[in-house]
Assembly symmetry: C2
Homo-oligomer: 287 residues x 2
């Protein structure tokens, strides 16, 4: 049995062939095929199946979400943004290919995402494809991913309130997860309350992911994390433990995972199993 | 009577309201509403009408094309790309708002373009909207705009062949013009040969635009151009007059405008008048 992540990897690999101009395609492939966990595409496929759709239907949409996620990582790593040299133990895209290529690779992945959904989605009512494209677009732009990144940059070195912290994470992390789940459900045939429950589920696990990340940073050693622990404290970054205390941050995480599970009660438990599993995995991860 | 360009400006203005986060929306509006000639949106609306569609139908698509054009200008001006400080007599986006905001404003405009088409296009068969979105996406990515910019950057300081020069211009300039015209025709109800003739027309005028630009650079004074003349020569940039001689470059321009007009012969002359006019305007412009 090929797992969902493997299916996604095969389609992503085929979606960016190594053609001319070679350098831009090498750069796109370098980041797109760098071995991410494919959480967003898996959620997209799982949501499609949960509402009764065939997994295959949502594969183009799932790949598009991963292309967009990859674009956001490439652009976020740029010198004018977070200025990171390494990602997942490899050189960041601009370190490997140059800044100009990294900017262009991100742009190309972003447009390819929409082209891919429009050109490759089959056996879905066209009106659903259009709804999903609009949803995807709104998750990325100045009321989504970009808004989160902008406010994150603007708040560097300033005191950040809990509301602002939530705004940043909802936009930087939750919105694309939300689009992955909602778009998977839309192309799978979902509507109305079903889509809205999945949207709430995704928003909870997006926030949960950040809260857990913040907690691990202060409770684990570098060895346990596989990356530098205590980095947030050292860099005076706004985090949930800093703003609400460690005990309350843990309580908030418990609450979020509970809320996420609650939204899933609407569905057949067996079909919803992958989404329960994912919420549990995010809540209990140790690194 | 409100002209096409004015209608486009009104819709573009409304499509990016000045909301939170203020800075990213200011930055997007700064470049989007900087007073471009709106050649691409006008072409899009004209193509829609030419095939019998109502102009209104193509307005979201026309605005999307202009958002994408604006994104490409913002990213092309970045320090890691062409490193320009001024555009149309104003500070470039990154000079006015900072590099990180300029990167994000481009990303947001690109995703908004697709969202806008998907969410705002009405009275068009959904299947046509999807076809147009796929067409638009392919004009931007690593087989379109981005490919042209990549090869342009890679060829800096090298000897460029006529084939390479054409590759750069076809991708950097013609493909988006082509998408504007083709997408306008698609949402307007055009199919088959009609769309293909308009595609060829757009490709000719895209190249024509570049050839004329190159010719003006060596035949006009700075005063006549309103910008520094002889800049291409001084910077050793590959141009048509340099590669084929001034006489042959002029001959090539004549040939291109002839070919563009030829494609229009298929259509009702009155309806095609705006497209004839545009080809003539590009061929005969003096600055």
């Amino acid at each position: 049995m090929i797992t969902k992540a493997k299916k996604i990897n095969i389609v992503l690999d085929a979606s960016v062939p190594l053609q001319n101009p070679i350098k831009i395609h090498e750069s796109m492939r370098y980041s797109l095929l760098a071995g991410g966990k494919r959480v967003r595409p898996i959620l997209c496929l799982a949501a499609c199946e949960l509402v009764g759709g065939d997994e295959v239907t949502a594969i183009p949409m799932a790949c598009a979400v991963e292309m967009i996620h990859t674009m956001s990582l490439i652009h976020d790593d740029l010198p004018c943004m977070d200025n990171d040299d390494l990602r997942r133990g490899k050189l960041t895209n601009h370190k490997a290919f140059g800044e100009e290529t990294a900017v262009l690779a991100g742009d190309a992945l972003l447009s390819l995402a929409f082209e891919h959904v429009a050109a490759k989605t089959t056996n879905v009512e066209p009106q659903r494809v259009i709804r999903a494209i609009a949803e995807l677009g709104s998750a990325i732009g100045s009321e989504g991913l970009v808004a989160g990144q902008m406010v994150d940059i603007l708040s560097a070195g300033k005191e950040v309130s809990l509301d602002e912290l939530e705004y940043i994470h909802v936009n930087k992390t939750s919105k694309l997860l939300e689009a992955a789940v909602v778009c998977g459900a839309i192309v799978g045939g979902g509507d109305g309350i079903v889509v809205e429950k999945l949207r709430k589920y995704a928003r909870c696990i997006g926030l949960l992911f950040q809260v857990v990340d913040d907690i691990l940073d202060v409770t684990k050693s570098s060895k346990e994390l596989g990356k530098t622990a205590g980095k947030d404290l050292a860099s005076h970054k706004a985090t949930y433990p800093r703003l609400m205390g460690l005990g309350k941050a843990k309580e908030f995480a418990r609450q979020l995972v509970g809320n996420a599970m609650e939204e899933l009660r609407h569905f057949d438990a067996l079909r919803a199993a992958p989404l329960y599993h994912l919420a549990g995995y995010i809540a209990s991860r140790q690194n």
